[in-house]
């Protein structure tokens, strides 16, 4: 393996790629060695994904050249890349839910046989066997006959990896692979990557999570605003240094939290029960309350009912049993808009699906909760000037970066800036209660820092805050009170200072009375 280390398998020389209004990659040169884990680090919008899309043939560079395995190549589609042995696991999986794992893997490259030497058909038995062998060899256990819709995201991700391996890819690109995984699943994925490296594969890892890079990567390239800052040896570079280079300034990891100063009870949830679409009780008899100036965090493994609690409070799903009081008022049966007007701000889990309208310009998105009120509109007629001025104010106040100011379509903004826009809009509602669900999911350090600061600022203003997060670190850092949810039940509620991170972790696994 070491003998091959000096050979470059991929070289991207002086790559430049422009999009309307932005230079996504500005004269970037990367040389990736055979058999290494090469990390690509940068904030959202730094150009990591664009660079890899160029290598995967999704875009063509405006300038520069790409050399794969010693040959200059011209990649104009994913097919070209696939032929060269380049595979990519995208952030959003591209799988058919109603097909089995094996069918998804072989799709487009099916082993065929001919019935009676005439009628061709797909030899699914052979595929199942091959995939089973492949998954054993790479320690990526899957059951090839299961349907995709019946397996969880981490298995789906394994399927995506097997898809590449089935096509004999030896350059594997992972685009933010851990964004959707739980801590245990992340560990397992990193182990898989080491395994793949040991088997001679070259891995390019796009991420902004420094710990992961520290754990698996050999070298890392840092991009900042489309330019290459440098390529560093991971073993000899400190996390702090990487963070600073990535954000382009000094990063403050620990933010100062003011002493608590709790006010009156703002939200009270009593015996809340919620059913999902299959009439299954996903939230069971949950009771808790949040005071002004308090951050109440719900910790738990994904899918244990925490998002449903938030949706039930905001009115997006029906409450089966129980009551919700806001500032002493029973809002259990209020329609959504009335709840919002009573003083609820909500940063939803899925920002693109729920939080914004991607094909609306920024200024409408910023006003989507206020457009029907004065002075945004009068007698049913919108006041464009007021709406635009409001947007301009938020853009500068919350440092939302957008190519064409308030006219920018949300679709063309980076994920971090979309989230900043949602946070700006929700904070500006000046509601008594703010619900943050996974507020920093998929964001980079700079953006996370920014959003954490905002949450703490709201706490100091005396707002009640409900924080739902899968990141334990985030919860330990911000929360005043922690409630741990398991299987729809709040197992334990206690002040954050009474918990250690391990105790929270145990409750998350359902160990009662730990």
């Amino acid at each position: 393996m070491l003998g091959k280390m000096d050979q470059y398998i991929v070289e991207m020389l002086n790559i430049t790629k422009r999009f309307p209004g932005v230079v996504a990659n500005d004269n970037v040169t990367l040389r990736i060695k055979q058999g290494e884990i090469f990390a690509l680090l940068g904030e959202n919008g730094a150009g990591k994904s664009t660079l890899m899309s160029l290598l995967f043939g999704l875009y063509e560079p405006d300038a520069g050249e790409i050399i794969v395995k010693g040959k200059k190549v011209h990649l104009s589609s994913a097919k070209d890349a696939s032929k060269l042995g380049i595979g990519m696991v995208h952030q959003h999986f591209k799988l058919v839910p109603d097909y089995t794992i094996a069918e998804n893997i072989i799709l487009g490259d099916e082993p065929k046989r001919k019935l009676l030497g005439l009628i061709p058909y797909v030899d699914i038995k052979k595929a199942n066997k091959e995939i089973e062998e492949l998954s054993k060899f790479y320690k990526l256990e899957v059951d090839p006959t299961k349907l995709i819709k019946d397996v969880n995201v981490s298995v789906q991700q394994r399927v995506e990896i097997l898809k590449m391996l089935y096509r004999e890819a030896d350059i594997l690109i992972f685009d933010e692979p851990t964004a959707i995984l739980t801590p245990q699943e992340i560990e397992r994925l990193l182990e898989t990557m080491r395994e793949l490296r040991a088997k001679g594969k070259t891995i390019i890892l796009i991420t902004h999570k420094l710990e992961e890079i520290k754990k698996v990567a050999d070298r890392c390239a840092i991009l900042f605003q489309g330019k290459l800052v440098g390529v560093y040896d991971v073993a000899t570079t400190s996390t702090q240094k990487m963070a600073n280079l990535m954000v382009g300034r000094e990063v403050v990891f620990a933010q100062k939290k003011e002493k608590d100063n709790f006010g009156e009870k703002v939200l009270e949830v009593k015996d809340l029960s919620v059913l999902n679409a299959d009439k299954f009780e996903v939230v069971k008899n949950v009771s808790f309350s949040i005071r002004g100036g308090e951050i109440f965090a719900i910790a738990g493994v994904a899918g244990n009912g925490q998002v449903e609690i938030a949706d039930a409070i905001a009115g997006l799903i029906k409450i089966n049993k129980g009551k919700v009081f806001l500032k002493g008022k029973d809002i259990t049966d209020y329609p959504i808009r009335d709840r919002l007007l009573e003083g609820i701000s909500y940063i939803p889990e899925d920002r693109q699906k729920t939080g914004v309208i991607l094909d609306f310009p920024l200024y409408f998105n910023l006003a989507i909760k206020n457009y029907f009120q004065k002075p945004f509109s009068e007698k049913g007629v919108l006041n464009q000037t007021v709406i635009k001025q409001f947007a301009q104010k938020l853009i500068s106040k919350y440092d939302i970066r957008c190519g064409q100011a308030e006219m920018t379509l949300l679709r063309s903004m980076s994920g971090g800036n979309q989230q900043k826009a949602i946070v700006a809009r929700e904070i500006e509602q000046n509601s008594a209660l703010l619900i943050f669900v996974q507020p920093t999911r998929g964001l980079d350090i700079g953006a996370i820092e920014n959003i954490h600061r905002r949450i703490l600022e709201e706490r100091e203003k005396g707002k009640a805050i409900l924080l739902i997060s899968l990141e334990l670190d985030e919860i330990m850092k911000l929360a005043d009170t922690i409630g741990v949810i398991y299987n729809g039940e709040l197992l334990k509620i206690a002040p954050a200072k009474d918990f250690t991170i391990n105790e929270v972790g145990q409750f998350m696994m359902g160990v009662k009375g730990a």
Binding site: R18, P20, D62, P335, I336, R337, Y346, L358, F360, G380
Partner: protein, 404 residues
């Protein structure tokens, strides 16, 4: 010299690409390109069929009263034709406005034909066969058209909201039901034995004032076109400037976000389908009680379907629909005249409408390609400027671009 010519050609190409890709101009430039492509394709097809495309186009323009015909029936002239053209353009415009509103809410109202027929039918029964005077009859016809179309639209929307039945299914079913039910009543009770269509509605109830003379020339005044154009501006205002429009568009673009923001999605689905039906109703009365004064039983108006092409050609914009409906009407209206005067098959009109729809549907792609061309051009130009030491080399670079 040759070099200059080539350079000029590239500059022209760049200017066109810029027009097509620029946010502001592309809204107008891409439809114009679609029209040009349609005309070129039609011309080629006509040449293959052995007909003269110029004659055909001139024929369409003559029929619409844009240029004079070689001969006219007594007391008719170009102006007569033009007013008739406006009379048939009005229902087309109303219908496409109806389609646009449903489309903005993410719905596909394919029931415009049925809504037109039922509102025309009921207005004919209630007002067209009464002896009300014009000042009462005409507003009443408009009102009935709006109410009847609106009710059908509202039912479609309600079924979607209450039982989650797709609006396309409901409206296709409605089209059938309305077609045969009205056909049954016309054939049984209101048929004109000579024409086999319904008995004519009273002149007082019609939205087109007929039988007028101007300097001895026959003219008819289609009141409906003035209303239709005013309504186009009104719909544009509604969609772009009002709370109602914003909610309809938000519902159409992202229901999850609309709901999250407190917008009542079901209410907006019903609202959009109702408004769409109201406009289809106006199309119906201006068709059956305007341009015509009778209803052919068991025949849905083609306008209901053509309006989909018009909406897409007009970029789903109410003001764009004014021009798009004028254009499509030129072809649909002129088909009879063109076939009788030149022998070119009537179906050419539908062919042209189909091609327009096809090319309009490519708008986004055309815009994307043009944008790519502009960027590549500017890149090469920048590269050329950088190479200041050899100006001629830079020039070659740009020249080489056309082949790129």
């Amino acid at each position: 010299m040759n070099k200059d010519v080539r350079q000029q050609k590239i500059d022209v190409r760049y200017a066109i690409a810029e027009l097509l890709s620029n946010e502001k101009t592309s809204k107008i430039a891409t439809p114009i390109l679609s029209i040009l492509l349609t005309l070129i394709t039609t011309a080629i097809l006509l040449l293959i069929l052995g007909s003269n495309p110029i004659t055909a186009i001139l024929g369409f323009l003559r029929a619409g009263g844009f240029i004079p015909k070689p001969s006219y029936a007594s007391n008719n002239n170009m102006f007569t034709d033009f007013l008739l053209f406006l009379g048939i353009m009005a229902p087309m415009l109303f219908a496409s406005l109806g389609f646009i509103i449903s489309h903005k809410a993410g719905l596909f109202n394919i029931g415009i034909s049925g809504e037109m027929l039922i509102s025309g039918f009921i207005a004919t029964l209630l007002v067209g066969y009464s002896d009300l005077g014009p000042w009462l009859a005409k507003p009443l016809v408009l009102l009935i058209g709006m109410v009847v179309g609106g009710i059908v639209g509202a039912i479609t929307g309600f079924l979607k909201y209450k039982f989650n039945i797709h609006e396309v299914i409901t409206s296709i079913m409605f089209n059938y039901i309305i077609n045969y039910v009205t056909g049954f009543f016309i054939n049984s009770y209101y048929t004109n034995p000579f024409t086999r269509s319904s008995m004519p509605a009273s002149a007082a109830s019609r939205l087109t004032i007929t039988g007028l003379k101007l300097n001895g020339i026959n003219i008819s005044i289609p009141l409906s076109i003035f209303i239709a154009i005013a309504v186009a501006f009104l719909v544009n205002f509604l969609l772009e400037r009002t709370v109602v429009g914003l909610e309809i568009k938000a519902t159409g673009l992202n229901q999850d976000c609309a709901r999250y923001a407190g917008i009542n999605v079901s209410k907006n689905i019903i609202k959009a389908m109702t408004l769409s039906g109201v406009l289809a109703g106006l199309a119906g009365v201006s068709y059956y009680l305007g341009y015509y004064n009778t209803i052919v039983p068991k025949k849905l108006p083609d306008i209901g379907y053509d309006s989909i092409a018009v909406s897409i050609l007009g970029n789903s914009s109410p003001l764009g629909a004014i021009f798009a409906s004028a254009l499509v009407t030129i072809f649909q209206n002129g088909s009879t005249y063109v076939s009788s005067s030149t022998g070119i098959a009537k179906e050419v009109a539908s062919l042209i409408t189909g091609l327009l729809l096809l090319f309009s549907a490519c708008n986004t792609y055309i815009k994307y390609r043009a944008g790519k061309y502009v960027r590549e051009y500017l890149d090469l130009k920048n590269a050329a400027v950088v190479k200041t030491q050899a100006a001629s080399e830079g020039g070659q670079n740009i020249n080489g671009f056309g082949v790129h």
